[in-house]
Amino acid sequence: MLKFIGKRTVQNILVFIVFLTATFFLLQAQPGDITDQFLSNPKITPEVRQQFAERLGLTGTLWEQYVRYMKNFFTGNLGVSFSEYPKEVMDIIAERLPRTLALFLFATFLAFIVGFKSGKLLAWRRGKRGEHVITLTGVFFQTVFYPWFAVVMIWIFAFFLGWFPAGKFLTVDKWLTAERTFDANAVFDRMLLTVLAVAVLIIAAEIIGRRMNSRVAGRRFIWGTRVLTLIALVVWWEAVWPEMIPFALDIAYHLVLPTVTLSFVGFGGWMLLTRASMLETLREDYILTARAKGLPDKVVRDRHAARNALLPVTTSLVIGLAFLIGGGVVTETVFSWPGMGQTLLSAASQQDIPLTIGAFAFIAVLALIAHLVVDIMYMYLDPRIRVGG
């Protein structure tokens, strides 16, 4: 199993190097560079521009720039941003990454859980009334013109109903008046940590609980862990970071609308896929056997069919993730969420080469890690790999 993970990781790193190289040369092939930005400023002389180019490492042959760049990249030195000179690209990314991670993680979980559960029900209801409506809804969410959809969501929930804030990730007044010793990112980091810890605990409980001999005991164990985790979460925040709680809630409040909107992108696809996959599974002989045995429908659906249907759905997570990452860029732009996607867009349009590569590379790393996680999940779900690996 470790061997499998190791192999996958090495593969992913190789893919990443190839990707990085391709990106670098692509960016170099574009017309113009940063010093042209100053072309339209009559007060900046050509000498100053040349000086600038030298300082930014734009001199030398392409190969020299490439070698310098790759070397720097793997020593954690992503170079210096042009548009926010002389800020380190790494610092800019470090500042914005937590905001993107929060959005991405919450939206992925939400989309996957809701998509899977509803797809399961949908397959079970095949041929019944309402199926067309639900299918059309699913197709709508998968193919809706996302930026437009996001705008409509903002309009309904932020402007018309006024339930959620729009265009910011915190309430300025709240953060302004408080005497605090930490910044928003510190809160973001802790929120992410908490979510990860909660996720790990709950998944672990799920695994252990399912392997317990008695089904009732297993259920109790799973639910017990869930609640204990929640209580632990509250206690931990109260005890360790009490001063941050109102601020974390403030951020969470601002997270709701973008997260829900973004999760709709993934939701439709996963629902339809689960449905298709369930339909295939339901035709299998063992389902027929289970039904013939007289097992209740719910048990057949949840424990026999759904578990197996999860396999192909998990593979398709990869495609869903790509959707979500793309959707994330649009979400950040429409919701003015200052994360990686927005950074990528503004850096690319300002021809800030290092920041563009940096942001793009980190988005790719995010995708790679997500894929790796999916691979591992798949391995866990598919006994053939689990045993064989």
């Binding site: 072309l39 905001r99 008046t177 509250v234 709680i245």
Partner: protein, 677 residues
């Protein structure tokens, strides 16, 4: 099986409630710790004002403004350097004193640190020119130290020694010695002549600055050059500079330092930011000009008086005539908040709800929001002319654009008033290079080519110009009123005076996405040129590509035909841009800014004179002559300018709202704005 699950579910719900309750409990005390210091002195500041008719103003309020991008730096060196983005300027722009400043709204050049009007430079025995200027005593940094001449010397030395880029070299007009060609490095001749400028700045004593120039300095070098150079606090930056000196790249190390905690000598002190969310300034009640009353008189004279600081000064006259405007500066707000919004829609909503009081929009309010503001009882809308213009440029290095009458014929066809109607107020037609709103400098007699003519008249006039210049057609175009606005025109086979066919030409203009105004203009110009049988085609092109093409050097300078872009014009108190845009030595093929490749000995001579001019009236005459001559020759066809629309909450009281480029140009007047109670 279900029972324990339900129980646990309830427990979970209770746990969540506990969390929320705990959070709310946490939340309340933090929100009450608001009112702090700094409100006491604002009462004294209103003493000097005589003509205040304003309603009672709130004390110690927070002036909240919306901005649309995060700051990219909080370091003033970096802001004047590579980070010259407007958002940095809004927050950091009013902390550093200079010898002189501009008094708005009338854009008058007045002393800031200097004790009086600018002295006249004198020639020295060695051919250099020097000027000394006394600075005020008691002008304090917010940390309690005094601003002295040494601060300017310190700043100058850092700029020179570190080779700071961006706007620093032009701010200090550094003297550039002749660069001899070094044949060892390249085979291209890279020698460049010396460029006149500042050769030294020294402090005669703490209160006297002495500047040495390599040649006689004109206004643009002395009064509007060094005169506007910022004084940086040496006590704060000294140690950082010393440390930066030892690094590999001193300039980058200096730029990378944080400006938080830097003392201010202006009305605001930078007070930190939350990345991605907001930035903050607090009022500096001890600022030298805090509580000063400014008076503008109809005869052009200007008075600044402050009883506390013991000065009462009058410039440009005797200060006795009718008062056109008088106001007393604050700061009235105890702090100024700059809250970041992603777009104007969100900011407008915040404006309506009172979350912010004003929006800082460098290009003004989007037209779709105009009606929204007009309809809202809480909001006011103001419109101002902008200090800039959008233009059509011709590549005069090529035929037929090198023919004056050809350019004028195209210019005549362009119906700017029609465009204004088409774009419903989004543009204001412009004819002169200096914006008409800059009344002191604009030439009222600059030609207004074909203004007010009908479509038929324009067509006839333009055809007349082309025929006079010797253009011919295989099929001569006819004016067709029915299809007046639609290509293809009826003319085909246009030939230039030498009998060569006029080639297909491209009009490069930003796409509809980047700028619908210029995009629309380009499409219509294509139509109008087409009516004359001129085969020009609008090509939507991204901004960076246009810039790339039209500023290309060497042979590549011939690779474009026409393009549409715009200029923002910088210092409105001394518009010397004619030199940068049209002097022959500024040819873009050689790295300058004269993109059309325009060359005229008369214009060159005037441009030289303008740079050397030492008094304002001479300079204005030259600008008038330059403006008229260049507009008639039409290397550019000035198209239009865009009004700057701005919205603010009615609770704000601004001393004035009519000002070139709008209130955003003055960062929202953070030190003189008041708020109704």
């Amino acid at each position: 099986m279900t029972q324990p699950r339900k129980l646990w579910t309830w427990l979970a719900v209770i746990a969540v409630f506990a969390l929320i309750a705990a959070a709310c409990g946490q939340g309340t005390p933090t929100e009450t710790t608001t009112s702090t210091t700094a409100a006491q002195s604002s009462t004294t500041t209103t003493e000097g004002s005589t003509a205040t008719t304003a309603p009672p103003a709130a004390q110690g309020f927070t002036y909240k403004m919306g901005i649309f991008n995060d700051l990219t730096t909080d370091n003033y060196w970096a802001y004047i350097g590579p980070e010259s983005e407007v958002w940095n300027g809004y927050v950091l722009g009013s902390q550093h004193p200079a010898l002189f400043t501009l008094a708005y709204p009338n854009i008058i050049h007045v002393p800031d640190l200097a004790t009086g009007a600018a002295n006249t430079p004198e020639e020295q025995a060695d051919g250099t020119w020097t000027v000394t200027q006394e600075i005020r005593k008691g002008y304090m940094w917010s940390d309690g130290t005094e601003v002295t001449a040494n601060d300017l010397v310190f700043t100058y030395n850092v700029v020179k020694d570190f080779g700071l880029g961006g706007n620093w070299p032009s701010t200090f007009n550094l003297y550039v010695p002749e660069t001899p060609d070094d044949p060892a490095t390249t085979d291209v001749d890279e020698s460049a002549p010396a460029r006149d400028g500042v050769t030294n700045i020294e402090a005669v004593d703490d209160y006297t600055v002495k500047v040495t120039f390599s040649a006689q300095p004109g206004i643009s070098m002395w009064q509007n050059g060094i005169g506007f150079a910022p004084f940086m606090p040496e006590q704060f930056w000294g140690p950082i500079v010393d440390e930066a000196k030892n690094s590999d790249d001193p300039a980058a190390a200096l730029y990378a330092a944080s400006g938080e905690g830097e003392p201010s000598a202006g009305g605001l002190i930078y007070a930190g930011r939350e990345p991605g969310a907001f930035a903050k300034n607090v009022a500096n009640q001890d600022a030298y000009y805090a509580g000063t009353t400014y008076t503008f008189y109809a005869d052009g004279s200007f008075r600044q008086a402050n009883a506390d600081k013991g000065f009462d000064e009058v410039y440009y006259g005797d200060g006795t005539g009718d008062v056109t405007l008088e106001y007393t500066d604050g700061p009235y707000a105890k702090d100024v908040l700059y809250s970041i919004y992603g777009d104007q829609n969100a900011a407008l909503l915040a404006l309506k709800s009172g979350e912010i009081d004003f929006m800082l929009t460098p290009l003004g309010l989007q037209s779709g929001l105009k009606q929204e503001v007009l309809d809202s009882p809480d909001l006011s809308l103001i419109a101002n002319g902008s200090n800039g213009f959008r233009y059509l440029a011709f590549n005069m290095r090529k035929s037929p654009m090198n023919i004056r009458e050809f350019r004028r014929a195209v210019g005549c066809m362009i119906d700017k008033e029609f465009l204004q109607q088409l774009l419903q107020g989004a543009i204001i037609p412009a004819y002169s290079l200096v914006p008409a709103a800059n009344t002191f400098w604009a030439n009222p007699n600059t030609e207004q080519l074909c203004k007010g003519l009908s479509g038929q008249e324009r067509f006839d006039t333009a055809m007349g110009m082309l025929k006079d210049a010797g253009f011919t057609w295989d099929v001569e175009p006819q004016y067709d009123a029915d299809f007046a606005s639609l290509v293809p025109g009826t003319g085909t086979g246009m030939k230039d005076p030498d009998g060569n066919p006029v080639p297909e030409m491209e009009i490069l203009a930003p796409g509809a996405g980047y700028d619908p105004l210029r995009s629309t203009a380009s499409i219509w110009i294509e139509q109008w040129a087409g009516q004359l049988g001129i085969p020009a085609k609008a090509v939507p092109t991204s901004f960076s590509v246009i810039v790339d093409k039209v500023f290309a050097e060497g042979e590549a300078a011939k690779d474009w035909d026409w393009y549409i872009l715009g200029w923002g014009l910088g210092d409105p108190s001394f518009p010397d841009f004619h030199e940068a845009f049209f002097a022959s030595w500024q040819d873009s093929a050689e790295g300058g800014f004269n993109t059309p490749g325009y060359s005229d000995p008369q214009v060159d001579e005037w441009a030289q004179d303008l740079l050397a001019a030492t008094d304002v009236n001479t300079a204005r005459d030259i600008v008038h002559k330059l403006d008229a001559k260049i507009v008639e020759d039409a290397p550019y066809v000035v198209l239009f300018q865009t009004p700057v629309l701005e919205a603010y909450r009615n609770t704000l009281i601004f001393p004035f709202t009519d000002t070139l480029d709008g209130l955003q140009n003055l960062s929202g007047l953070p030190t003189s704005v008041q708020m109704q109670q």
